[in-house]
Symmetry: C2
Subunit: 124 residues, 2 copies
Amino acid sequence: MKIGELAERTGVSVRSLRYYERQGLLAPLRQDNGYREYSVLAEEQVRTIRFYLDLGLSTEQIAGFLQCVLRNKESFCEEVLPIYQHKLKEIDGQIRLLNQIRVNLRDRISSILQERNQGQEEII
Amino acid sequence: MKIGELAERTGVSVRSLRYYERQGLLAPLRQDNGYREYSVLAEEQVRTIRFYLDLGLSTEQIAGFLQCVLRNKESFCEEVLPIYQHKLKEIDGQIRLLNQIRVNLRDRISSILQERNQGQEEII
DNA sequence: TTAAACCATGACATCAATGTCATAGTCAAG
DNA sequence: CTTGACTATGACATTGATGTCATGGTTTAA
């Protein structure tokens, strides 16, 4: 199958498919005319790539274990666990930071609303 | 005071002070030699800018209300509240997304650990 | 056969604040 | 007067996946 068909089947843009290839995540054959030729397995492979990307992993991280997880159960691939754990710490840190900001924002919003109400009361 | 001194007093790099100026957040006078001349008020102003930047607001958003909040109470500046509320929604969305990923990651990590333990037991 | 649709590659843009470097003018202390 | 510290401006880099455009070759359907 050619790149346009794979793009349509997976919902991933042609641009991204070429990018994944350059990052070492896909390795389609080439037809005589230079067109990329994807096997039927490529569709599942792209969905796997998308899954890990959506998990927040980088193409570089994914490249480190993609071949393994395509052939085995995830638990068999040694590289996966440390990457997951590292990502989890990162996510926890981000959530903590966002929560601090969130609390700060909520405080300021309610304080603004309160002061405005007091201003109204003074007028009354 | 010159830019180096302001940078040292506020902990903000010279580069960033020039950037803030270009974004319309600072407007120092110029000495005859072209050097920027900051008033003592600039120090507080920079801290205010940093505060809003740390809250996740963009220089463009900050520029929209900075002059007002420097002169009045925050609750007096009409532009602030909608920006806060918009930012809060954004943060909530980010937290939600991160939490989904977090749950996903934790599930996969524990599932890997569990499968590895089962593998061990089988050997025993 | 010809036009439309598809493919290839490479380059530039994005988002945003900041770092860094190059080049050059200015100032202060020795 | 000279050297080192400071300042000015402008340009390029960063981060990462993706969009978009330009240019040109290929295929396919009418």
